[in-house]
Symmetry: C2
């Protein structure tokens, strides 16, 4: 049905009407007083979402741009980086660090697993000369739907003394991340996720300790330059032309987030994803992530049942119900499908999605009893 | 008056309603068939605007991002770059090249002047060993309102054999630039200018000759990676999450540009800026750029008259008429004000602006006879 499409993917995510309308205004000058006032409010509210007193910088870029900004502004060629990878996006940190000329070591885990704190502890304990300067990791791995025990991992990294550099692109504004309280050094995120606005903005914040490292880094980038961003942020502006309309949209979405409250937002994500996991199991499907404790509260990966293809499931949901879910990425393509409940997603949306999934699988010959999935979902919600 | 503000600055520029409404749609998946179809159309129409058969790559970034992308993907540390600078943005090329470790030589001219082809010819003739590998230059210098004789300069660079790397951020879609026909090697531009959409996208195209140089360049960037962009563009996609809503807006604005026709667009810009120059002179004001031949068709810099400040002129235009004009940049701050007629600007808009300027200056005690400016403008338009 025209205009009925609904995104249940891990980004871009649905955008509230208030935000869409704010973005549809005529642009204002990026050096105007009005825009500085908007930026000031946005900067303050970003600090609140990230749980930090430090500046949160805004780049006109996708999330990958902020990852590159983090590496460029901290890592010098020859520096030793430990990359903890549990999927495509964890591996991306390693690739960017390698392009920067860092010496990269990896701890990897199979798809569906989190980083084991004990393994990290042991690895860092072996680094007696403190050669490892940075540990890159992913809070919520979008390609698998696994959430790392971030607080615990950060504790271990802090004890060692390396800087923690965290991709929180699909976790900020969806699940708890307390940057200052936990002592995370660098956090990056993106706009088209928990922030409920379209893609095009990326965020980065860093601790005082990280800032000192930055000051000794020969950053090769003019565009992704934290010093220029900090100088400008303190004057409520940006070094280069900001993506004005996206930021005016963000101003509205942050207001909505403040109104709902962070704890309520986290609870909503947990409730909806928990309901989906219950429904998936009740329908006889298997989630990729077996362990509830590390299952993402925003992205649920489901293994395609035997003899039914991911392509057919996605096509059925889209053609018959205007619901878009994601395929797997990399090696998981065609093996899993991923349902997101990231950002502006309600219980009602998930009830519709689970019902549609039941009908789609039934039509494809899965033999599932209709109502089992939605029943489990409703019980979980009640 | 609420919602009445009109931007007469060199970007962001006014956005057509059709484009605003396209941007206010729910995002679609960046890996969906629908988005690939939109991208395919956008890529084709970008080639048409740039006058090239090569790919035009789209970055989620401001124009400076595309400048950085050009340097990173071509220049190795130690390479010799000649930077032709006639203002803030020409100098930006030199700064980025220096950050990349290039050996940068400059030809600079005072504010309000263009690069003299004879000076360039002589400089390149001295380079007998062909050590200069790149010449960076600005087509239209936004900080002064000067347009370089680009075709002539490109001829000279081609004869020498260096690659020409052109910032055309405020010229593409506003004044003639025929990338392939003139043999320009690298052209970058930005969305919030002639393209009539808000800031957040940047564009880059490069010749086959430049592509060969790129292949021998050790590009340090994961985000600004032309090889990844080319591979993806050929499959109607982008390497990282595209700024979906901005691109859907661009799809509409490019359709509008095709409907108007490039030659008509160029003529409209020339007519409106020509009228403004006539009005400025008739009012007893002085344009910064004396020579009509190099005066920009999209940005007109006007010297503040004695005893009247740029701040007061800008305040008067904004408070009384909801018209935003720009201050000078860098050393020209407070000395000039700049009126843009870039993108979605009509004769009617300029008539209103000139009338408002007459009233504002009169109120500030300039002693101008009301109607002289608009009279000259209307005669120029008739």
């Amino acid at each position: 049905m025209k205009d009925k499409q609904f995104l249940m993917i891990p980004g871009p995510t649905p955008v509230p009407e208030t935000v869409l309308l704010a973005m549809a205004r005529q642009p204002i000058g990026h050096r105007s007083k009005e825009f500085s006032a908007a930026l000031r409010e946005v900067f303050e509210n970003l600090k609140w979402v990230f749980g930090t007193k430090q500046e949160v910088f805004i780049f006109s870029a996708s999330g990958t741009g902020a990852m590159e900004a983090a590496i460029y502004n901290l890592v010098n060629p020859g520096d030793k980086v430990l990359s903890l990878a549990m999927g495509v996006f964890g591996e991306r940190w390693a690739k960017i660090a390698e392009m920067r000329g860092a010496i990269v070591e990896r701890i990897t885990v199979p798809a569906g697993y989190a980083i084991n704190p004990e393994v990290l502890k042991e690895k860092l304990a072996q680094d007696k000369n403190k050669e490892i300067k940075f540990v890159t990791l992913t809070h919520n791995e979008t390609s698998t739907g696994v959430t790392n025990p971030l607080k615990e991992l950060i504790e271990i990294i802090k004890e060692h003394g390396a800087l923690s550099v965290v991709d929180a692109i699909t976790s900020v504004g969806a699940m708890p991340l307390k940057t200052d309280e936990w002592g995370v050094d660098v956090v990056v995120s993106g706009s088209q996720k928990g922030f409920m606005i379209p893609p095009g903005l990326a965020f980065l914040t860093c601790s005082e300790k990280a800032w000192k490292v930055h000051e000794n880094c020969k950053n090769p980038s003019f565009y992704f330059n934290l010093a220029a961003h900090k100088k400008n942020a303190l004057q409520d502006t940006t070094p280069y032309t900001a993506a004005v309309n996206l930021i005016l949209g963000l101003q509205e979405s942050l207001k909505m987030m403040k109104e709902e409250g962070l704890e309520n937002i986290y609870a909503r994500h947990a409730k909806i994803s928990g309901g989906l996991r219950a429904a998936v199991k009740a329908m006889g499907l298997k989630p990729l992530v077996e362990d509830d404790a590390i299952a993402s509260k925003a992205i649920t990966s489901i293994l395609a049942p035997q003899n039914i293809t991911v392509a057919d499931i996605r096509k059925g949901l889209k053609d018959d119900f205007d619901i878009v879910v994601a395929d797997g990425q990399g090696e998981l393509k065609g093996k899993i499908f991923r349902i997101g409940n990231l950002g502006f997603v309600s219980e009602r949306d998930m009830i519709g999605t689970v019902g549609a999934l039941e009908l789609t699988l039934n039509k494809l010959g899965f033999g599932n009893e209709l109502g089992k999935g939605t029943g489990a979902l409703l019980k979980s919600f009640s």
